[in-house]
Symmetry: C2
Subunit: 352 residues, 2 copies
Amino acid sequence: MSSWEENIRKVVPYVPGEQPKRKDVIKLNTNECPYPPAPEVKELAEKMQYEDFRLYPDPEAESLVSALSAYYHVPQDQIYVGVGSDDVLSMAFLTFFNSDLPVVFPDITYSFYDVWADLYHIPYRRLLLDENFRMVKEDYFGHNGGVIFPNPNAPTGLLEDLDTVEDIIRNNPDVVVIVDEAYIDFGGKSALPLIDKYENLLVVQTFSKSRAMAGMRIGYAFGSKKLIGYLKDAKFSFNSYTMNRPSLELGAASVRDDAYFRETCARIVRTRERVKGQLKELGFTFPDSASNFIFARNEKVSGQELFDALKAHGIFVRHWNAPRISDYLRITIGTDEQMDALVGFLKEYLKK
Amino acid sequence: MSSWEENIRKVVPYVPGEQPKRKDVIKLNTNECPYPPAPEVKELAEKMQYEDFRLYPDPEAESLVSALSAYYHVPQDQIYVGVGSDDVLSMAFLTFFNSDLPVVFPDITYSFYDVWADLYHIPYRRLLLDENFRMVKEDYFGHNGGVIFPNPNAPTGLLEDLDTVEDIIRNNPDVVVIVDEAYIDFGGKSALPLIDKYENLLVVQTFSKSRAMAGMRIGYAFGSKKLIGYLKDAKFSFNSYTMNRPSLELGAASVRDDAYFRETCARIVRTRERVKGQLKELGFTFPDSASNFIFARNEKVSGQELFDALKAHGIFVRHWNAPRISDYLRITIGTDEQMDALVGFLKEYLKK
């Protein structure tokens, strides 16, 4: 190692789900929405003023923040936006988790949490989910440097009810509690109303799933004015202009179209419930997902084998060679046609 | 202060130049390009596939990286891209500056450097520029935790020649040296060829100035494969998908149009040189700028007074109430018409 390498931060980076460049695959591996963004996004995209690209975007992101404020009935100074919820969460780790006590999160969860902790040299502890992949809420009560969990959890898809979520928040008055609600729009009840009651609560959501805008990179968070203020200070110390002009304009357009948003979520939920039945018939078991994916294993065939067989057939799902979950596949809910292709293939394959 | 606030990272954020929402001002305060992006950017913007916004962008940003690779004749694995050069630089601070020795940079320079150092708890030392705002290169030689400086420097606009730059790099083999070339395209000679000679050198550039894409947030850096590898690992531990689809596509389009790029830069340089003469006649003195702005003071009127008078007249420039530079204005080079309006106003104002 050269001398200049000695003081370099060395990390094992997060590995995202594969983004195949081929267009002919059925892509059920990164929880994207199978339907396009709202029609108003299309209209606005077509008439965007390219001349204005020469000017910096609004650092306060007001067009987007005010659209979110109107939709969720939250004052603008209680809203934070970033380049996808990953950017929001990463900035929240940097800002809020500076204790010597470990930050706690589930052992089976979004695999970026430990990566952020490592990046920022934050101590952390993984708390075991029970045998049904449920959080043991008491494990999260106090004596930690902060709490974060997704609800619904990923990759299990399991939703904890709001009472459980509130119990965890109530029992952690001395640290920041982050509820990562990337998948809340597919049937869950958001912790958003609790921000009025707990000024140490941050609720994070994203445009990447239910709003079909993963390619635009938009995430957002709600919290007390004080909490959001700290987060903004850190963000303005990192990069004043994180959201580019298309994100701000098209993001706001997406929020304005409530009918399309609700219909898209409802369609995905209908497909999910139908596919649950079909997978059961094929000998799959899975936690009862409230998200836009199903985390399933087959009683006869290993996760790796099924993953490989599907991929060879042009169907991409997600699989982890990790303790307790190596036999599971995380299958994103696609269109009805895509799911029929998946189920059809599995039916044939499992006959053998 | 509530108990949960105790372990929060508290910082004094960077304050960007004002982004007035009124359209009727002459905006010479944030070094944007007065001309629109390349025509191909417009063409591509008009036919962007909004349906694809539902899909995550390519985490490797290959379309943009390959365009930069072809243009600058640098292998793809020696190129890093981010959300503006602020994102690139911030990630570089986090990755490369972890020594107990202070990172060094000029006392008068881009005012984000000390903000990043504070954000990441990096020790730093400001090295005095001489009375002509020139770097004293020997001050930068060794016994530091890393080196960063802009070339041309901001807000002075002064260019150091490549021999000086190389001297600083050669005398710092044990740390990472970052040359921030946000303004290099307006007459400077890039340190880019030196990356083949010094594997600890990072050269950072941006689309926000010479490429007229401040609103799209695109920055990039060149370095040895090893150096870029460390930076990518940190980036992939922060956010896999930082560059959204429009940035990747429209950024690549901008790089492809070399003729337009060169003509735009040449126009700005012509206007700059003309305005230098006019400002001299009006009793202004300034370092001989090689960038897209002039850092000037008047022999008779204070910086604050001129700043206020210009603003009242709808002309926005930048002014800092900081030691050694409080009598200076940083004036971005706009169109010829905008500069005529500025000079015309100053002529009248200074008559009084």
